[in-house]
């Protein structure tokens, strides 16, 4: 754990892509077993933050710690304990789902019995039964997303980093994932996930962090964010639009109509 008991910590993270700002002096702390939602417009820094937390992006300055480990100094150790689903998962398309998960399980060091039990349980839970012997290249986007999710949670990670995990999932699978995140949180698994679907964020997250231009714009429970925005009783969408300073939707429509 981090020195203040948090499972995930970012301190003054800054990342530049050339002259473009990815993250700007961003600090964040996520407690053990907490489900943290990252909200923000496109390009606000959500994916960059998640990639920084697993060591896929080297910050220009600042540091990140996961389970007390410095991500830059010990990326392999961090990856052993973390499950990650990228925004657009890349899978080995010519493997079957079973073969892919078998490979991930071996990389993760699962025993044969554990591997067998986990793979069959996940395939059943996420409705891939009967399809697990087909090559992934023939799967729909949603099915590929399910395989990526299975790969991320196969080894019972202590921290889950999910970048738009519900992309392309059917309602039943999306519900399964939501319940899964809740269930994992009860077992002490920390989850940080980004989403554009505000209802889902409110439903499953303990706390929300709104990012804008690579900075933390606001942070708190859904209710605390409503209070900050001065919109008690409003939907999270209105709160989000007000906090991010998005101009009136009517104005935007008017501009579009020319």
């Amino acid at each position: 754990m981090g020195h203040n008991g948090s499972a995930v910590e970012a301190e003054h993270l800054t990342k530049f892509y050339g002259s473009v700002v990815g993250l700007s002096d961003l600090s964040l702390s996520v407690g053990r077993g907490e489900v943290r939602g990252l909200l923000g417009q496109n390009g606000s820094g959500k994916s960059t933050l998640l990639k920084s937390l697993i060591g896929l992006i080297h910050p220009t300055s600042g540091s990140a710690r996961v389970l007390g480990l410095d991500v830059q100094k010990s990326p392999m150790e961090v990856r052993r304990s973390v499950g990650y689903v990228p925004e657009s998962p890349r899978l080995y398309e010519f493997l079957t789902a079973t073969e892919y998960l078998d490979f991930i399980a071996d990389v993760r060091g699962l025993s044969f019995e554990e591997k067998k039990e986990r793979v069959s349980r996940l395939i059943q839970a996420l409705d891939l039964e009967g399809k697990q012997g087909d090559t992934i290249s023939g799967y729909s986007q949603g099915m590929k997303q399910k395989v990526a999710l299975m790969g991320a949670i196969l080894h019972r990670p202590r921290v889950l980093l999910l970048d738009e995990p519900l992309n392309g999932l059917d309602p039943k699978s999306a519900r399964v994932v939501k319940e899964l995140v809740h269930s994992l949180a009860r077992d002490g698994v920390t989850t940080v996930f980004s989403t554009h679907i505000l209802e889902i964020a409110e439903a499953i997250c303990d706390r929300l962090t709104i990012l804008q231009n690579g900075r933390v714009l606001a942070e708190g429970t859904a209710q605390e964010l409503r209070e900050k925005a001065g919109l008690l009783g409003s939907g999270l969408e209105d709160v989000f639009l007000k906090l991010t300073g998005t101009k009136g939707v009517e104005d935007i429509v008017e501009a579009l109509m020319g």
């Binding site: 892509y17 990650y84 899978l91 080995y92 398309e93």
Partner: protein, 558 residues
């Protein structure tokens, strides 16, 4: 380094490769058992044994002298290692020419506890094992020759250096893959005309340079001009495995040992470079280079000078922009540029001159133009064949716009032709500079080349639209195997027809212009007729392509 993970990962890469290559006619049940490659290797080893035994039996029965026998052993044993290095590298290179970014990216595993060095080793093992049957048959062939001629010791060394050669060629491909992945990620999202050219040239330079390095031609030429022929061979690392064998056959144990160690050292050096590059480019870097304002809107295009409508220009512009941002398509575009260079490559760099004051090489322009046009024609054909399939589902995005199928075919034709013509002009420029081809000859050849390019592009689009392969994956084909075969055969027939017309017209032209000293003038009539044939085929191909494209736009295949 975990051996079990390494082997598992190598198996995953191997299975992906096998299924990506042969998925249309080999079932998953077979490709999921890599042991089959081992069994094929055993069978080929036995076959090699038989061939080697037969060879040596024939030589003995023919009362071959001991020195002649020694020369045969020298050639066979010395040839195997250098051949293996070139073979494994070339096979990897050919794979890379068709591989998509999916096959190179480390995004599929870089979030797992797998290190870059494990990735490189697993990939090297996978490449080596995939093509290992060739090593088996080579060593099977060499075994009876070595044992029955008393060179058992040399055979044992041959086994060792052959393995080193195999891994050297395979790990060389890993360096190339890292460089290509980096070149792709650096350029993929940056716009502007300058970047389009840079992307294509970047890929061409990397492929030509690495091919030159591993073929040895260029290196031998450079070193020989500095220090002489023998030293040149000694200084080229890819020759070291061969030199270790030939030294042992020449009873020079010390040299054999030194070259064996140097071969091993060269492999480790390449492996180190591959590790370093893969670590450096482990994560796909978002582009940070901005050579031009990619967000700017297009102004009036100079293509209007050729009478193209705004719609046609928009489609051609889209072809270039989308194609040059997809690495797999950039490589296809590189083919018409690489083929002419490759055709001229051995002539330019081999044999090494005996002195730096050697006169410039002079070759009959026709001997240069034939292979050059053939290479460019094949490149244009290949671009045409893949032009529809590489669009994938994006084709229906265009179909939803008020764009007719004829317009789409025209834009594809223009795209393939422009790229192929750049290749032709580069090849001709090389011929003018290096072989002193006259500018007028080059001009005539470029005219004929244009008709070859148009005819082959049209034919390619016609066949490519009928046999389009829209499946995405680690190694997208863009055209079915049947389509590739039919297209290649028809393309070669078409060029042969043009060639035959040219040859048949040559005597008539000689009669007409026999008094002229200008080769170009004598050849102008055959060129004209061959060119007309090309234009007729081009028109026919264009007409035949429209129907299948209409069919694709109206019915979305799975």
């Amino acid at each position: 380094m975990r051996a079990s993970v390494l082997l598992k990962f190598a198996k995953v890469l191997l299975v992906s490769r096998l299924r990506g290559t042969r998925r249309s006619f080999v079932t998953n049940a077979i490709t999921s058992r890599p042991i089959i490659i081992g069994l094929i290797s055993v069978a080929l080893f036995v076959m090699g044994l038989g061939l080697g035994w037969a060879t040596i039996s024939i030589l003995i029965s023919a009362s071959t002298t001991a020195s002649a026998m020694g020369q045969i052993v020298f050639t066979v044993f010395g040839g195997i290692p250098i051949f293996l290095i070139g073979f494994f590298f070339s096979m990897g290179l050919l794979w890379e020419l068709n591989a998509s970014s999916e096959s190179e990216t480390t995004d599929a595993i870089n979030w797992l506890p797998i290190s870059p060095s494990e990735y490189v080793l697993a990939s090297t093992l996978s490449t080596s094992y995939t093509y290992s049957p060739l090593v088996a048959i080579a060593l099977g062939y060499a075994l009876p020759i070595g044992v029955l001629t008393g060179y058992t010791g040399a055979f044992i060394l041959l086994v060792g250096v052959s393995l080193i050669a195999m891994f050297t060629g395979s790990v060389g491909v890993e360096i190339l893959r890292s460089l290509l992945a980096r070149a792709s990620s650096a350029f993929s999202k940056v716009g502007g005309n300058a970047m389009v050219v840079m992307r294509i040239l970047g890929v061409v330079v990397i492929l030509v340079f690495t091919q030159a390095l591993f073929s040895g031609f260029l290196v031998v030429r450079i070193i020989s001009t500095l220090v002489g022929d023998i030293a040149a061979t000694v200084a080229v690392p890819v020759f070291w495995p061969t030199l270790s064998i030939t030294s042992l056959l020449g009873s020079d144990l010390l040299a054999a040992g030194v070259y064996s160690l140097l071969s091993l050292g060269f492999f480790f050096l390449l492996a180190y470079i591959a590790f370093a590059l893969r670590s450096r480019f482990w994560i796909t870097a978002p582009p940070s280079l901005h050579f031009s304002g990619s967000s700017s809107l297009s102004g009036a295009s100079k293509l209007r000078w050729f009478g193209l409508s705004n719609l046609s220009i928009a489609l051609v512009r889209r072809e270039f922009r989308s194609a040059t941002r997809r690495k797999e398509v950039v490589r296809l575009m590189a083919i018409p540029l690489i083929l002419p260079v490759m055709v001229l490559f051995p002539v330019v760099f081999s044999p090494a001159p005996s002195s730096t004051s050697a006169p410039p090489v002079s070759v009959n322009p026709l001997l240069l133009a034939g292979p050059l046009l053939f290479g460019v024609g094949l490149g244009a054909l290949f671009l045409g064949l893949t032009s529809i399939g590489q669009e994938g589902g994006r084709l229906w995005n265009i179909g939803s716009l008020p764009v007719g199928e004829a317009m789409i075919v025209k834009s594809k034709l223009m795209f393939a032709s422009i790229i192929a013509m750049i290749g032709l002009i580069l090849g001709l420029a090389l011929a003018v500079v290096v072989f002193h081809m006259s500018i007028f000859d080059a001009f005539i050849f470029s005219g004929l080349g244009l008709t070859v390019v148009l005819a082959e592009s049209s034919l390619g689009i016609t066949v490519g639209s009928r046999y389009a392969d829209f499946s995405e994956g680690p190694r997208p084909r863009f055209v079915t195997i049947a389509g590739s075969i039919i297209g290649s055969v028809l393309g070669i027939i078409l060029m042969s027809v043009m060639g035959v017309v040219f040859v048949l017209m040559l005597p008539f032209s000689l009669l007409l212009f026999g008094g002229s000293t200008s080769l170009a003038l004598i050849e102008s009539l055959p060129f004209l007729l061959a060119g007309m044939i090309g234009l007729i085929f081009s028109r026919i191909g264009y007409r035949f392509a429209i129907g299948p494209v209409r069919g694709i736009l109206t019915e979305i295949p799975n």
